[in-house]
């Protein structure tokens, strides 16, 4: 069995605990707030580190590389990923406020997979800012690799480069098996991501971080979609209280429910 070269794409997003606010121009949300690693990407970093630590892959893990495309601050996220246990990082620089669409990201990752000779890509099923849930599927399509999305369990077979993945589907789970190379996207119940310890954070500062441009992968940041308008959802209408059963009945009649 060949040794695994895992590529883990991560994204810097607005922290899950922060409530996003629409900006005045209604073109997007305020970005001057706390950011952190996309929680689903933390799961994928954790999973690749666990595959190495538990030696669950028969061929061993040769390399865990994290990659992120984003503004200069995305490097903090890459350092966090390396503190969790990734070996090295690639930062593809984009300008502040220049967002890539899932298709561009998938094309970028395809080029990165070919450059890095990766044979397994583990990525979050979606990012909590765009919630597109497209990148993994598009990447698998572009590469022509099998994909196992929404994974809740990943196990390696003893021979034949085969991987068995349990997926979260509506109302239950589904088990699929595929041969490497493949694309896996993570779901919430896959594992419990660790908190990077201080010594590991220090060590991560010395790990290699490569800086690249979009052009190095033959990608441009052109957008196919134009954001017309961003608005907040309407506030919830408060409920009313009725005094007794008669009050309830008359209220229901008034609303035409009876």
């Amino acid at each position: 069995m060949s040794a695994l070269r895992i590529l883990v794409p991560v994204k810097r997003v607005i922290d899950y605990a922060v409530k996003p606010r629409v900006n005045k121009a209604q073109t997007g949300v305020e970005t001057n707030v706390k950011h952190s690693m996309n929680p689903f990407d933390e799961l994928s970093v954790e999973e690749s580190v666990r595959i190495r630590e538990k030696k669950s892959a028969p061929g061993g893990v040769e390399d865990i590389c994290v990659i992120s495309a984003g503004p200069p601050k995305a490097q903090d996220i890459l350092r966090t990923a390396m503190a969790m246990g990734a070996d090295r990082a690639i930062h593809v620089e984009t300008k502040e406020g220049e967002d890539l669409e899932p298709l561009s990201v998938a094309k970028l990752l395809k080029a990165a997979v070919e450059q890095q000779k990766s044979n397994l890509v583990i990525l979050g099923k979606q990012s909590i800012d765009d919630d597109a849930n497209q990148t993994g599927q598009m990447l698998a399509g572009l590469l022509g690799w099998p994909q196992a999305t929404q994974a809740s369990k990943v196990t390696f077979e003893k021979e034949g480069d085969k991987v068995t993945v349990t997926r979260e589907v509506d109302g239950g789970s589904e088990t699929v098996r595929a041969k490497l190379p493949m694309v896996i996207t993570t779901d919430l119940r896959l594992n419990e991501p660790r908190y990077a310890s201080l010594p590991n954070i220090m060590k991560a500062k010395k790990k290699p971080l490569e800086k690249k441009q979009l052009g190095d992968f033959g990608i441009t940041a052109d957008r196919r979609l134009k954001i017309v308008k961003v608005t907040e959802p309407p506030p919830r209408q408060g409920g009313g209280k009725v005094d007794d059963v008669d009050g309830l009945i008359s209220k229901l009649k008034e609303l035409g429910a009876l």
Binding site: Y16, E192, Y195
Partner: protein, 86 residues
Amino acid sequence: MPPVNPALRREVISIYKELLNLGKDYPQGFDYFRPRLHRAFMANAHLTDEDAIRKGIARADFVRKEIEALYYLKRYRTLRKRYDGA
């Protein structure tokens, strides 16, 4: 007063720093967390018995694990609510 075991001293300082680092993400804020952490450590500053210090370190480590678990659960529950419709 007998000299403090330097190895233990280092351990105490490192777990203190580790907890401080964890506290940056504390739900009620770092300003809430830091004085409380400091107080908890100062309350045991008089300890000289090595076994008692070791016990204190073990307790600090337990607290560290609890805080990590708290963060994990908080995030897990929020995301589950958002994405599983539960």
